[in-house]
Homo-oligomer: 185 residues x 6
């Protein structure tokens, strides 16, 4: 599994959550996580979370750090578990940078009632995919949020790279952990 | 998914990592997590982690809080991801009780260089299983450890119940998260 | 697994066989079976059974009791087996109401040469789905049919609820039956 | 999928529920169902249903018609669904012979409170397996039972062959039904 | 698994790589391989191999022998392994006709630097599919190629039938090989 | 996927076909292929191929080149397809060394009626495994055989390494080929 940091700004509108996005745009073949920064605005017809659609939730942030993950497996429940682990990982990397005030609730990260993240996992015809966006700033968001800036993270992409690196390492270590045990009765 | 708290002491010697252990002993049918407390001593021939066997590691602790999880799925990699999430969950529940000094490294929890946990995931003929043990005391362990007592956790089983509860809730929420999205291209 | 009885008439034209139909329309998250009543008219371009398309079969009934089932699994053969069991269940619930003249042939129910049912199972991008329609009346159908009215079923939706209930109970009991056995050699 | 009728008496003691039993003993390679007749006595240590073990149930019948089914798949839930369909099939074949008094409850068949069948499904290291036994006589059984003889079935093995034939045909038709549909949205 | 030889010319433009193509056009239900002959011209928007799209490769041949294979399984890696075996099989059938100069490199066949084949494997919503095209003539191809004619194969469809036959036989023998072994420790 | 060449002689008696054999003995974690040389004598009770057991075949060779492959997947049919591809690969590597007289028939390699190979694929509790042995000499074998020496292969382990290398490369390229295609309709 490899990661790529896109340094140019890239706005997320939902169309990036598409199979082979990272391969087509950044040349990474195989399992991947790509990191980029830009606004987040997903219209109703691009939303994949029907819960949001039914609640008429509106996803918007002026400036977010985005992660798009692709695993070439077709078990969506497994990918949702990976997504939860990614959220735990983001929290843990933040802790490594001194931010110890976050709480994870499912696939969301909060500081008190302020939401740091949006996230979704779904299937494409050939893979499963995760999007996670972390607010950089908390300005003008439709609900109370906190941003990485508020948490003291200055170099946002460098932080993103640390997350991507740790996620890749963990995916690899999970694979090997699966290969070192005998069965039991 | 259901949990069970066994209040009587029960020593772990590896033979508890066996399919249907919780059903046979505590009557819980289906996916389960059982929590109990007792010593941990696993002899070489009961070890399922070949890495430990090759390293001639010796698993011993006088007093541990044990979790045994059973999922009726045969994808061990998926179970290893669940195991990592369980470890992240234990750390998060500790944070909720004010313990903010732990770090997760794969399936291990540490305070500095002191290890809090042992853990393994494997397959049985009909399910996949996780064992996780957390030191209660750090006395007489073969490597530097930290125990729940050192972290200020007095009611060890109550803490275990909080973990079990949160794990069950998350397994259920993962299942539902898998059922609310449309596919993407 | 939950069921929902839609009491308002709803005509089936094939577009209801769509992932998350029940969640979007009736708010049921997770595995579900929804029951409703209305006409059935599926045009060639909405048909999912290529056998019917090739045979230029035309699916039409003035008044049917419809079941739409969604399982969040991607093994279509497994869903076809579930579909056969659903048809057997419908027959068994009818027997419980005194109707002992039906025969099941694959995913069809007959009284002599008269067909009671249409049914299909297929995959969506995120789930697998079953549609089953039972004629309420046998008037104006393109082939010889029998309807629930002919069989003496007066309260059609109440009958549908009995089927849905039993199907949900059986799905749950199947899940538990999978979790109570040791493996063999 | 093929079937075999063993005409010589063969007593069932649980050891027949073993991978490749039919291949080793009757030369049928691949998915199979074998039919034979003999007593049924399964000791506690041969039982695979832990529910029976916990309840200290004791499986005994002087004379049973036995079916052993092997599918080379590792999804036990799928095999349990097949098992339920096998039980529905047995009931349907009996109906074809004029016996219209049976009820199916999960994997059991009853005439009123009298049990006709025992059945279990489990995994072997290379396949999944079903055993089903139908009482021929109801003499000396530990619980109230009914036997095929009581139901007027004289040629027990011929009846077994009809079941086996229909089960094989349905497995094949299920396979083809999975291969004739387009996906939906 | 069955095969079909279409004797009428049929040009391949990518739209044939579609689920149930063989069932809809030639009536073969279930796993299948169809063989036909015609030109090959796949425009960018019909290409399924993103590597070709990114490299702006252009697939063209005046006259090819085409194979379209459909397996009703959703594990694309498995289908890619089948595809490699199909390419090895084509090479082996050619050897049986005296052509001993080919080399297989992944899913490509070469004589020296001259390419005999194009091939791709992908998923449809209900199955997995393979296309393989073998140049009949090497005239006017965009890269150096070799054609079956250059290799001395005169009756191209008869050769195609030999491949199809051997592929079907091997798929069947693979299925049975899976059903004749006991597990190991 | 990694390979290991064991240069010390090691006789194969069937007990090497065991999960984690390569990890335990040679330290390779994860998917692996190990190559060694030694006699081959598998007694009836160690045989995993029931076909051989039923035929009372006796596997014996004084001197063989052995390959043991382990994939951490539980789909035995998939592993059998891999095994066939391994056999095709061995033949192709031999062709690269000028040996153009072999024929593959399923999982066997022949020169005329003389058998070069034995091979089997099966499941362990945590993985799937392949053994393949190639006769080095054809002396004293119970059936007509040919050995690598007869084919002019002098450095047997170097040949084995070439096979292992190519197999590892192909497994990796198969994985990537699965990750570069869009789905079709």
């Amino acid at each position: 599994m490899n990661y790529f940091i896109e340094h140019k700004p890239l706005n997320y509108d939902g169309s990036q959550l598409q199979s082979l996005f990272t391969y087509k745009n950044f040349g990474l073949k195989g399992e991947s996580i790509v990191v980029f920064r830009g606004s987040c605005r997903v219209e109703q017809n691009e939303m994949v979370d029907l819960e949001d659609v039914l609640a008429k939730d509106w996803i918007y942030s002026e400036d977010m750090l985005h992660f798009i993950v692709e695993h070439f497996e077709m078990d969506l429940e497994k990918t949702v578990i990976r997504q939860r682990l990614l959220m735990a990982t983001i929290k843990e990397v933040l802790e490594g940078q001194g931010v110890k005030t976050l709480m994870r609730s499912g696939d969301d990260l909060y500081e008190d009632k302020n939401k740091l993240s949006v996230s979704i996992a779904t299937l494409s015809p050939v893979s499963s995919m995760i999007h996670c966006g972390l607010n950089v700033s908390n300005a003008n968001t439709p609900i109370p949020t906190v941003g990485l800036k508020n948490l003291g993270i200055e170099d946002v992409l460098a932080f993103g790279e640390r997350v991507a690196q740790r996620y890749c390492t963990e995916v690899q270590s999970i694979r090997l952990a699966r290969c070192k045990v005998r069965g039991v009765c």
